[in-house]
């Protein structure tokens, strides 16, 4: 039997009948590599909307991580660098220190930012690097096939915790954003989501603040966590995954601002 090679072409997707809304100007035409239902695309989009609305394309430098968003530079139409796993805050430090007038952001997942890159994360924030860090927390390693992340909830199943994360063996899920908020070097720390129109609007507002603070050279690091889903890794349908996230992730990782203008929110 002849093998049928299925290749999705851009023309197959971008057709007049599919055009229900306009693509964000600073997103490229490349087809997203993310699973349907994943929050990465929305997070990318609102960052690029903010960069466009603030007129920052010409002075923005982004740093991508290792993880599902390893190819983020294919989708965001700004100058970008690809970091080694966990090292994005160090790259961003090198850029910002030598180009204090550029706008520098990192985009990192939970394994990248809160496991292998914990030292870089904590120290960049503790030095108060004047950068913006966007942290996507979906409690799992998506790209490598659904292994346990530092943020995986207790009892949550993953391919390396097939019977659920057990504290006795794997310790506790790490609330790194709470840690970052406690550091005197952080200026704006917030936790958001992007799974409903309302949360997208709030998240975009937070990202805008994280970029505006940097632009205005407010002293300290701007840190935006986005609690997101991973329907593939969680082995759920997208709608189920979002519901599961609301019922399980949000109670442990409650949404809202933790630190604004360098002051902890009570």
């Amino acid at each position: 039997m002849e093998e049928v090679k299925e290749e999705i072409k851009l023309e197959d997707i971008i057709r007049p009948e599919n055009l229900v809304y306009k693509k964000t100007k600073l997103m490229t035409n490349n087809i997203l590599s993310y699973c349907p239902g994943c929050g990465h695309g929305t997070a990318h989009r609102i960052i690029m909307e903010v960069v466009e609305e603030l007129g920052l394309q010409g002075k923005t430098i982004g740093v991508c991580p290792v993880g599902c968003s390893v190819l983020a530079y294919e989708f965001m139409d700004v100058d970008m660098q690809e970091a080694a796993h966990g090292r994005a805050p160090a790259l961003a430090t090198g850029i910002k220190r030598t180009w204090p007038d550029k706008i520098v952001f990192t985009y990192q997942g939970d394994g990248d930012l809160a496991a292998i890159g914990t030292a870089e994360t904590i120290h960049a924030c503790n030095r108060g690097e004047n950068i913006t860090m966007v942290f996507i927390n979906n409690g799992i390693y998506g790209m490598t096939g659904g292994q346990m992340a530092p943020t995986t909830l207790l009892g949550m199943k993953s391919s390396t915790t097939p019977f659920g994360r057990e504290q006795r063996l794997m310790g506790y899920p790490l609330k790194i954003t709470d840690l970052v908020a406690q550091l005197p070097g952080s200026y704006f720390v917030t936790r958001q989501a992007v799974h409903t129109p309302a949360t997208v609007r709030k998240a975009k507002k937070a990202i805008r603040m994280a970029f505006e603070n940097q632009l205005q050279k407010k002293e300290g690091t701007n840190f935006v966590e986005i609690v997101s889903n991973c329907n593939s890794g969680w082995k759920m349908r997208p709608v189920e995954a979002n519901k599961w996230m609301e019922e399980n992730m949000f109670p442990f990782y409650p949404l809202g601002d933790m630190k604004v203008d360098g002051k902890l929110v009570k």
Binding site: Q57, V78, D79, A83, A84, R87, T93, R97, T98
Partner: protein, 360 residues
């Protein structure tokens, strides 16, 4: 004549960095090279030239700060010693893969592991054969004096930008710690933003409307494209091998026997040469200045009259493999080394020479 100063090798690196118009130094303290960052911070380079000096939280961070800034076309560097350089291997592999210019100084100490803080040349393989993962090369310069610690900083940056490749200055605890007279070169200004954009159009300096976005990455999941990238890198390394070999010959013209030694070993070998010549032994010294590319052809050209070669290294014998590859079995190539931070004396080597080649 430039300004003369009595300096430690490590201090000379720091002063040369400021004078070479370096934009950023990112480092982490480790013996025997901590004087570099101490000198830099005490010199207030931010006031002198606007140069950034930052003490990172680890060598992992410092090499990746170098990556980030190098990817924007800035002149940046770091220094460390053996265990710290091992931690930088991940970053160096990425930097080589992404083809970024930068300078890394290794003031080598004895290993393996935490080893000792005394001088050694046991990081030769790591420096010249890759060190990190994947097929890549660093251009490696081996200073043998405090003067060269200073002079090789601008040379290293020149090569780094010429080839878009990381350059390592492979020094050791002797050269880093000893004090000598140095003639300092005249300072050059740091590059302006316009100069950087013109010189490094690939750099991530922020996308203007006039060009496509710049991406700095070592990733390409498509194996055929990744192979093409690797072929491109290998072609670059062949070009480096053809054009950048540097070495020094002392008394090689009439030599019956040849020493090949670099860095501090070459300094000791100079005394050996004097002692041997005084005893009527026609001994020569070939000092590789670039360890990669290795001066294989210059060694081959001496084989008409050289009857035997002694590779001197403060290691169990690493560079000697490159000497043997160059010589292709045409004359005997022997190795003599000390390890773990011990250093050979000139007399010790004269005796080894006589025993090895003269049967005494």
């Amino acid at each position: 004549m430039g300004e003369l100063r009595l300096m430690k090798g490590n201090e000379a690196i720091g002063e040369a960095a400021i004078r070479a118009g370096v934009d950023g130094y990112f480092g982490y303290p480790i013996t025997p090279q901590s004087e570099v960052i101490e000198y830099l911070t005490s010199e207030k380079p931010e006031e002198r030239t606007g140069m950034v000096v930052l003490q990172a939280e680890s060598e992992l961070a410092s090499i990746n700060m170098v990556y980030g800034a190098a990817a924007t076309g800035k002149k940046v560097m770091t220094t460390s010693s053996s265990p710290g350089i091992s931690l930088m291997m991940e970053g160096l592999s990425y930097i080589a893969g992404a083809e970024l210019p930068c300078v890394v100084v290794n003031v080598v100490r004895g290993g393996p592991g935490l080893g000792t803080i005394q001088p050694s040349q046991a990081d030769y393989f790591q420096a010249t054969k890759g060190g990190g993962h994947g097929d890549y090369r660093l251009i490696v310069l081996a200073p043998a004096s405090v003067q060269e610690m200073s002079d090789f900083v601008p040379l290293a940056f020149k090569l780094a930008f010429k080839y878009r490749n990381p350059v390592m200055i492979l020094s050791d605890g002797v050269i880093g710690q000893m004090m000598e007279k140095v003639e300092l070169f005249d300072p050059v200004p740091r590059w302006t933003e316009e100069e950087i954009i013109k010189m490094s159009p690939w750099a991530t300096t922020g996308k203007p409307a006039t060009r496509e976005r710049n991406i700095i990455t070592s990733l390409d999941l498509d194996p055929s494209r990744q192979e093409k990238h690797n072929i491109h890198l290998q072609e670059k390394y062949r070009r480096v091998e053809k054009e950048e070999v540097r070495f020094e010959e002392i008394a090689c013209d009439d030599a019956d026997y040849l020493m090949v030694a670099y860095g501090s070993s070459a300094r000791i070998a100079q005394k050996v040469l004097q002692l041997a010549r005084a005893q009527g032994i026609r001994l020569g010294l070939l000092r590789p200045i670039t360890l990669y590319p290795f001066p294989a052809q210059p060694i081959r050209e001496l084989l008409g009259h050289v009857k035997g070669i002694l590779a001197l290294e403060l290691s169990s014998g690493q560079m000697v493999e490159d000497v043997r590859l160059a010589v292709e079995g045409k004359v005997p190539v022997e190795h003599y080394g000390r390890m773990g931070g011990m250093i050979f004396t000139p007399d010790e080597i004269v005796n080894v020479m006589k025993k090895t080649f003269l049967g005494e």
